[in-house]
């Protein structure tokens, strides 16, 4: 069973006059089949955690380890991490002008599966995944993320998650900017992948709303660059009722 282990992770970014430490010792273990929600206020470093694990060049790991089944993830290039089974659904996926969704998906699938998927089954696979996410077939001919609405971008991210079948999926604020219908469709997509029992999910969110559709096994509160409290789904209910103030005004964050 695949396991992602994050140990004492410290991460910095370059700022105008030097560097700034964003992550200050994160410890977390995510196993295949589990769903972990990471909740925290804006600026607490949740997205930094997601992008650091995915290998974004902006972030410098200053200490700590990230391993997937014992393999050193931090030693891998960005694409190697994806091929090892890691997936990041981004909050703000970029436009790639002139590259169609269908070309992009097929190129990605070819890289991840080690060979080009058979055209006939592939077309079916994409079509049915798109239908389930209520995406119009014409979507495949559009350029990646170009002119996509917020909801379309998120659907496109989850479409990729469904097609790529990762071992570990990190969803960075996938719920942000979605209306209730879109949120439900996107959550249904995530749940279809979760129901296979083959993905460990790290759900990063500011709001508890998405947790009504995607039920976490564990909830972690993130504040000032680390996990300050962990618990079961009941912790989310507490956050819903009380907000993050307890964690941001000293208290447990100290």
């Amino acid at each position: 069973m695949a396991t992602l282990e994050i140990r004492d992770l410290h991460v910095s970014v370059d700022v105008e006059n030097g560097t700034k430490e964003i992550l200050k010792g994160v410890d977390l273990t995510v196993k295949q089949g589990e769903t972990h929600a990471i909740m925290g206020p804006n600026g607490s470093g949740k997205s930094t955690l997601a992008y650091s694990i995915a290998g974004h060049p902006k972030y410098t790991i200053t200490s700590g380890t990230v391993t997937l089944d014992g393999e050193d993830v931090l030693e891998m290039s960005v694409d190697e991490r994806a091929r090892a089974g890691m997936f990041l659904a981004m909050q703000y996926p970029v436009e790639v002008p002139g590259v169609s969704v269908s070309n992009f998906l097929r190129t990605s699938a070819t890289a991840l599966r080690g060979e080009a998927p058979k055209l006939r089954t592939w077309v079916k696979e994409v079509k049915s995944a798109m239908e389930q996410l209520q995406m119009d077939p014409s979507f495949a001919e559009r350029n990646v993320n170009e002119g996509f609405s917020g909801g379309e971008k998120k659907r496109h991210e989850i479409l990729q998650m469904e097609l790529m079948k990762p071992k570990i999926a990190i969803l960075d604020e996938t719920d942000s900017g979605l209306d209730v219908d879109a949120l439900r469709q996107v959550s249904d997509g995530v749940n279809r992948v979760r129901e296979t029992g083959e993905v460990g999910t790290l759900l990063i969110t500011h709001y508890t709303r998405i947790l009504r559709y995607i039920k976490p096994d564990f909830v972690h509160v993130f504040s000032a660059g680390k996990i300050v409290e962990s618990g079961g789904p009941e912790l989310a209910d507490q956050l819903e009722a009380e907000g993050y103030e307890k964690y941001t005004k000293g208290g447990a964050a100290a």
Binding site: H56, V78, D79, A82, R83, V94, T107, L112, N143
Partner: protein, 392 residues
């Protein structure tokens, strides 16, 4: 086609041959246009029209020392109904679409021995392209080609330049009323080739001219696509793609001369550069003369710099002599490779080199998608793929 169609508003006529008016204002040339090389001083390199060009690499094309004698094979494959002729210098159809505007173009006009004239009779609509292969076998050559479309004729011309050599040439496109011409000129030369050419298009009343210039190869390629209009209602679209590698100099100097009312022009050139001393130059001149009311014009140049050590000079110029126009604008931007795009693609398992190719291909594909001739689009994308496969 009727003689009158070749006389644009505001042009001068010399004898029985009509010639398009040339502007010295918009182009800031150091000498007025002329067919005679003697009318141009030998450039020293500081002139506005030569300041970006490495004269020392022109193999003497600019100073009269490049003697003809090289091997150049020109093959024309044309569908039925098209006339292909090889003619003498005295043929009245030569030089009608424009006059040489710099010394090398005038040198070419003063030096060529035989010209080729390809004519599509009026109202003939070709379903297959006219294919022209220009292959250099080394040495210096001077050339002149004319493509003439009669009124309401429609044609696609694909010109491939391959091989090695030093070529200076003028190419004329003369479009009759309502004619539609798409020309794809691919510069796929070997590494040491030098190619300097002026392309003159004279667009008839209500005619459409579409030019697609694709430059991959060569040591120095300097092209000068120019458009003027013989009557109102004409449209010109000038598309260009270039991929400038280490040490290459690729220069495209456009001029659209809006000399009559109610014409349109759209210029869109995109280039990618990589490697030490890769140098791309794009000059986009648009002149809207006082008479050209109702003009609608736009020009755009985008460059994607893939590595350190490459250099782009991109200079759009818009000169407007009347306020009564539908639109006029220009844009120029040169950017580095976008690391966020690379990260996104890599995060989906796509290896870095493939991700880079995908982004560059997309950058060009965006332009290719605008060409609107499926066959041409597919050929170009295949060519771009091959170029990227070999070099990125």
């Amino acid at each position: 086609m009727a003689e009158a169609q070749n006389i644009p508003v505001g042009s001068t006529t010399a004898g029985s041959i009509a010639v398009a008016a040339e502007s010295t204002t918009a182009t800031r040339m150091s000498a007025p246009p002329s067919f005679d090389v003697a009318d141009f001083p030998v450039p020293h390199g500081r002139e506005e029209e030569w300041r970006f060009t490495p004269l020392a690499r022109l193999r003497g094309l600019h100073d009269g020392t490049a003697e003809a004698g090289g091997e150049l094979t020109v093959q024309v494959e044309a569908p039925e109904g098209v006339t292909v002729e090889t003619v003498d210098r005295t043929d009245a159809r030569l030089g009608k679409a424009g006059t040489p505007v710099d010394r090398v173009a005038a040198q070419a006009y003063s030096s060529f021995e035989k010209a080729s004239v390809v004519s599509v009779p009026k109202e003939t609509v070709l379903t297959e392209p006219i294919r022209v292969s220009v292959h250099g076998g080394g040495g210096t050559a001077y050339g002149h080609q004319v493509f003439e479309l009669g009124a309401f004729a429609e044609a696609v011309v694909v010109i491939d330049h391959t091989g090695d050599g030093v070529l200076a040439a003028n190419v004329d496109y003369v479009l009759g009323d309502g004619a539609k011409l798409t020309v794809v000129s691919v510069q796929d030369w070997d590494d040491k080739a030098v190619h300097v050419a002026q392309h003159n298009a004279l667009v008839g009343r209500d005619a459409s001219f579409k030019s697609v210039v694709v430059t991959f190869g060569g040591d120095v390629v300097r092209l000068h696509p120019r458009v003027s209009y013989a009557g109102p209602g004409g449209e010109a679209e000038l598309f260009g793609l270039y991929f400038t590698d280490q040490g290459q100099h690729q220069e495209h100097r456009l001029l659209v001369d809006h000399n009559v009312p109610n014409c349109k022009s759209n210029v869109a050139y995109k280039g990618a550069l990589q490697g030490q001393d890769a140098h791309a130059v794009w000059i986009g001149d648009v002149l809207i003369q006082a008479a050209a009311e109702g003009t609608d014009s736009y020009e755009m140049n985008r460059n994607l710099v893939l590595t350190d050590g490459a250099r782009v000079d991109s200079v759009p110029n818009l000169e407007i002599e009347t306020g009564e126009i539908a639109g006029a604008g220009h844009a120029s931007a040169t950017g580095r490779f976008d690391d966020e795009q690379l990260f996104y693609l890599q995060s989906r398992g796509i290896p870095e080199d493939e991700a880079r190719r995908l982004v560059v291909r997309g950058f060009f594909a965006e332009l290719v998608q605008q060409i609107g001739v499926t066959d041409v689009e597919e050929r170009l994308l295949a060519k771009i793929d091959a170029e990227l496969e070999a070099s990125v």
